[in-house]
Amino acid sequence: MDTITLYEDAAFTRPIQIQVTTLAAVGDWSSGTNTTTVVGSGDDAITFYSHGGTPNFGTPFSMVTDPEPLVENRPASGDTPAVTPDWRDKILYIKPNMQLKINFYVDSSNRLHTGVLPSCAGVSIGSTYLSQTESANNIRALCFGVLKRKTVDSVCMYIRTGDRSCRCVWISPNFWDGTASVHTPSKTRNVTPNGYGGARGQRNEGRTPQTMYSTINVLSQAIGGRGVHVYELQSGQLAELYSRLWSINPLIKLENALLKPTAGLLSAHMLPISPSKIATGHNGINLCGVRYDVGSATYLVDEQMYSTDLFVRDLPAASGFTESYLDYSPYITAQLELPFCGIVPIDINKIMDGSLGVKYIIDILTGNCMAEVYFKDRNDPDNWQLYSRYTGNCAYHLPITADESGGKQMLGIFSGLATVGMGAAVGNPAIAAGGASKIMGASGIPNDVGMIGTFSQNVSCLAGDLFIRLHLTCKDDLTIMHDTDDMLQQICGLPAGVYGLISEFTGYLQGVIHEEDIRAAVGTGKATDEELSEIISAFGEGVFV
């Protein structure tokens, strides 16, 4: 059984894992009917509703159980879920360890059919009443589970379309907003992890689904409009764009001069990560109101903020450490290598015998990145605590240029040639020394060459392998003193700082005995003062007991 990890908090530090059955990865399904299973678990039977055979609530999903047949029962009065007041369907019981096979459909255009068909359950794919779909290209993860709500247990499909969003599509019952006759994906509620019971058999009473994430995402508001577009160029598209910007076609040269395409280019940069994106549906890049064809399907970045997993290192004292004072400051110093943010010191006392976690948040628009460092204290091993945040920038800017001269460089060369008295037929720019000033601007970039980007780069982009690492400088025992087992401990013991009866100790013992204690123990008059002093002195220097 596979898992999907969701988080209780917007900082993504408290994960919840839902045990569900999933397909391994996007693309593991093929056109046509696919099958996955949900296995019941927990102490209670999981109750869900089926749409089978109901007009008006058709579904592209069908379900069968294995090994036991479905048990049908109509909801009694008062049991009708509030979410579907027109409910007519059946209650089906799936018992623990019973397998439920769910069939879902992906059409030849690689669209996963997710919504309600206003037709009967014998779905007619391709009909005029085609169900709502989700392009499989946009789906990052797909899984099935059981959503337990106050009165209804539902088998649901969870679609993860971005790093931080996860939509829940109820297979049974399908979401109904009470107003429209046709279900639309946009009306599908985002469900918080707290709303999930999954296969753990836990109930959540009366929780209202809420948007799962709260973060900056201006891109989702700008997409499709006339404002800012953020594309992830695919292989060959930059070359296609360049061929358009530096076309030798005189008409295109003139168009470039008039439209100044670089004015519409705000930034071109490389990022180490691959952002979430959606297909534009065409092959173009929009620049200043003009669509430049780049020869293949283009993609818009749909989530401005990219966040990584929480990368973790546990530091159990019993594993590879001495389990002594040598495991703590100042005997160990720790440094955390954070790509683009630097190498930062870490207080080893906070993470020793605990855990260290690092998560990156990257702004696709600017390349600004923030490394959030968390730790788990050994005395509170269940909760991540924020240690600190470190900032940097991971964008490597690409200078992009365009010929915006309209071909007038040639005119400039000719006029330069005329200045030095050369014939207009001579077209070699190298000769037109007198015309050089008309070609090159003061910055060294030709005057009529549009350019964005910079030659000044983040030096941190030069660092190699982009790995997050923890470096420890430790002080270890010299093994020379340990040529036999615990020799140092046997010969002269180790620091104790405890109080107890001498009979409780074995081996080397050094410490302080109070005179009144030894007098009371030995008995009055039984030992001379000199003998008592000798006993006290002997333990002060160390005695083997």
Binding site: V230, Y231, L233, G264, M270, L271, P272, I273, N286, L287, C288, T308, L310, F311, R313, S324, Y325, L326, Y328, L356, V358, Y360, L365, L398, F467, R469, H471, L472, T473, C474, K475, D476, D477, L478, Q489, C492, G493, L494, P495, A496, V498, Y499, L501, S503, F505, G507, G511, I518, A520, K526, A527, E531, L532, I535, A538, F539, E541, G542, V543, V545
Partner: protein, 167 residues
């Protein structure tokens, strides 16, 4: 008085000595006598025997164990022993019932009350050297902690540039 002579291999800084090697006749020991006044801590005893071995003894009448620090053979069956009391062995049982504030111990303590050394206290007697080690962080399912894109088994930069445009 009776004296029992032993040969002990145990060092003086041990609480209990090994007296399994008995020199004097067992179980009665040898007969000894004192001449004049003696110190109970540093007695000189004449023993009716030729004693050439043995470094430890017990005198029941004094209730003490002694180190034999010197032996003088007076005549064939008479040896003068110069003794020094060993209060550790002599009062071992009482000492064990005494309390101590232990600064160092060869026994490891634990959380359940057994006293002993605490490895988390720094020890100036410990010679130490410096080493450096690097540790990887891991993501879900053991994924390596890299910001790059996994391609061909290695993490690289995303080769697809980001283009921000207007209009």
């Amino acid at each position: 008085m009776t004296i029992h002579v032993y040969n002990t291999p145990t060092a003086p800084d041990h609480l209990v000595k090994d007296i399994s090697t008995v020199i004097s006749p067992s179980p009665d020991g040898w007969s000894g006598a004192v001449r004049g006044e003696i110190s109970i801590e540093h007695p000189v005893i004449e023993v009716e025997a030729l004693i050439t071995v043995g470094n430890y003894c017990y005198i029941p009448d004094f209730g003490r164990y002694y180190w034999i620090v010197d032996k003088n053979v007076i005549r064939r069956e008479l040896t003068e022993l110069t003794l020094k009391s060993d209060p550790l062995m002599s009062f071992a049982d009482s000492i064990k019932a005494c309390k101590i504030i232990a600064s160092r111990s060869g026994q490891q303590g634990d959380l359940y009350g057994s006293p002993g050394f605490n490895s988390y206290l720094s020890d100036p007697m410990h010679p130490i050297v410096q080493t450096t080690t690097s540790m990887d962080l891991r993501g879900q399912n053991g994924a390596e902690a890299s910001l790059g894109v996994l391609s061909g088994g290695a993490y690289t930069w995303n080769q697809n540039p980001i283009l921000v445009t207007v209009g």
